[in-house]
């Protein structure tokens, strides 16, 4: 029976802006797909690329990173550091055979509940279009979709 593929997205939020935006989305009763599970950190700067790899290896199909807008970080500049790590990660992922599009960075301020909900909805669809990741030791997938062949990239992006 082919049901629609439901991706699992892990979202990393920062305590001051994007987590509050998610709270605001909740308070405003905005609806977004339940495919996303949010993890709260104090700052997007806490983002360790290994968290992302961990999540993808444990069965997540996509990762949404969020934080305060540049210039508005509660800890002044740490979101720039998160941005740097994200950009490097985007280059590294294809070398693992993972589409760079599976990880997305979105800035959301505490007032942007509507926007965050919209970004989540868009991202879920984007990942749905990409299909399941099925990382080798994937655990959450036991649902008989078949393994998608993911080519390991041999080209190193410039």
């Amino acid at each position: 029976m082919t049901e629609q593929f439901e991706p699992i997205i892990i979202g990393f939020t920062c305590n001051w802006c994007s987590y509050r935006a998610a709270d605001l989305a909740g308070t405003a009763r905005l609806k977004y797909p339940p495919n996303i599970r949010l993890i709260r950190m104090m700052c997007s700067g806490r983002m360790d690329p290994t968290f992302i790899l961990k999540a993808l290896s444990e069965g997540a199909d996509g990762i949404l990173l969020t934080g305060c807008h540049p210039g508005e970080c509660h800890y002044l500049e740490q979101n720039y550091k998160a941005l740097r790590r994200y950009l490097m990660l985007r280059r590294t992922l294809p070398q693992f055979g993972i589409e760079a599009k599976r990880v997305k960075l979105v800035w959301a301020s505490a007032a942007e509940g509507v926007r965050l909900a919209r970004e989540i909805t868009t991202f879920v669809e984007e990942i749905r279009a990409l299909g399941p990741l099925n990382w080798k030791d994937s655990r959450a997938y036991n649902n008989g979709y078949g393994v998608a062949e993911v080519e390991v990239s041999t080209e190193v992006p410039a």
Binding site: A22, R37, I39, M42, K54, A60, L76, A140
Partner: protein, 680 residues
Amino acid sequence: MSAAPKSEKERVGVYVCHCGTNIAGIVDVEDVALWAKKELGDDGVVISRDYKFMCSSLGQELIEHDIEIEGLTRVVVAACSPHLHEATFRGACDRAGLNPYLCEMVSIREQVSWVTTDKVKATAKAKAMVASGVERVIHNEPLDRMYVPVHPDTLVVGGGIAGIQATLEISNSGNKVYLVEREPSIGGHMAQFDKTFPTLDCAACILTPRMVDVGNQPNVELYTWSEVERVDGYVGNFTVTIRKKARYIVEADCTGCGICWEKCPKKVIDDVFEAGLGYRKAVYTPFAQAVPKYPVIDTETCIYFQNGKCRACEKFCPTDAIDFNQEDEFITVTVGNIILATGYDTFDARRIPQYGYGRLANVFTSIEFERMCNAAGPTDGEIVMRDGVTKPKSVGIVHCVGSRDNRYNSYCSVICCMSSLKFAHVVKERTDAEVYEFYIDMRTAYKDYDEFYQRVLEEGTHFIRGKVAEITDAARQPGEEGKLIIQAEDTLISRQRRIPVDMVILSTALEPRPDSKEVGHKFGISCSANGWFIEKHPKLDPVATMTEGIFIAGAVQGPKDIPTSVAQGAAAAARVLCHIGQEQIELEPVRASVNADKCSGCRICNDLCPFNAILFHEDLMVTEINQALCQGCGTCVAACPAGAITGSGFTNNQIMAQIEGMLMFSESNGMTRVAEPVAA
């Protein structure tokens, strides 16, 4: 890489809140509770309950009881957002004798029930969130709250009305205040005004007694003509270096007699206090009621400093108080709290050339007009045109110059409608001129403001609702020769109008100080996109900032009128006095610390901290993190290649476990386990 396994299983209690029907209406809470006991029992869940309102006293007592009787070592509450009740449940744990940081909240309301319509999927997501909470809390370590002592002295930066209010409140309570002001005298912009709306009180009359109080208050150390050079430290214990710029006047000997500025031969345009409309000497006090009374010498215009001649002031000073060799002094003080009240700057009307400011002689800005109206100003309070003599027979007042304009500042400057009405009233009072006001909206919101508007309406000022397109001297019709023509669309009658007037007053926007970003950086706070300092919460915490111990008050937080600035000054003072009264401040124990054994001295983390909390010990070749300065962002934790830095409260183990928990159960298999937490 995965979460390290624990040697002993914790005893975890899971509490799933119904929140009435807020959660229970969408998520099957009873199922979640049962599921948690069943599926997570192996991970340590020994108690799993659901309850209508966990935040109620009965709900909290459930937790307390289970901790005491069932010997719980970890607690997970699945309910609303931790921003609401994390403190509540941590308090419950604390009362029952469990370290409060061994309690985790999982949001299944804002994050699940309120944003999902599908009940089945919502319940599955709630289960995943609970699992993540349980897996995480197992790795929580007990943390101790940190307390730092509070130094009773306070630094107030900015001697305008907000800064003065804060200074008086704190110093009158018996605590010491250092008041640092950039200009030679305190008073700020309010000292420049003539009358204040809506009462039409004379600004100087109500301000100067306060200024004198500040000058006389023994608990206040007043540093004018000074700047804050450097700020180090953290709440309760800031080390501040103040640069006391050289006045070239020996304060101990100066009597404020004024002979020096009388005799000074160099007259220059006063760009600051007189807004470019009047003159001062090279040695001057900005205005007669200056506090302190000591003048300063402006080295850029002083003849002696420019080419070695003159020295008239020195010759004539009866107490030998002139010292040309004086140097800037650096004073270091320790304070517990800082209040920033550095005020605003005015919009440069030359940026809107079609309004003619700077090109057409009789176009004035609001601050210039304030000085003109002021009895102690350059025209002794006479309303005259630029030639200094002719009285205008018609005056146009233009609202929103640089405000509510996407090309310049999109915000509203709050006070200009009222000050424009004030100008209209003053012109009517002192001249026979016709007054025309060009407005977009009339913003007269506060106490007695709208009544003032009604009064001005009755006095006969003409109001035209339309944004002014152009102010020009190019006459097109008879009657426009020699006048300034204000062209605007009168939107209430849908017609273009050209109104010839003698004089135009532009109500210019309030803008942040040009160096606000640098100042913010110095104190460790940030500016919004518009340049005003960011408050902790726009609704509920307008005087605090995200940095503990630094407060803001007055127009520096956003354009506002005098009563609001005074209220904010007092509010900031109250917050500071609260800190001082408690004698110590509690800090969240979310901090980073370096394991010196693992640190290889690579110093990758050293440049990452904007709070300067990371120090490197050259002798030991290891990095150390100052626990009091660390704000807990975790950037260095993520950066350390050796994993030598631990971020308490958000350790790698905790986050990895959280991730695992979210992905451990397969939704398509009815949320049964598909993975064991992997052993290291």
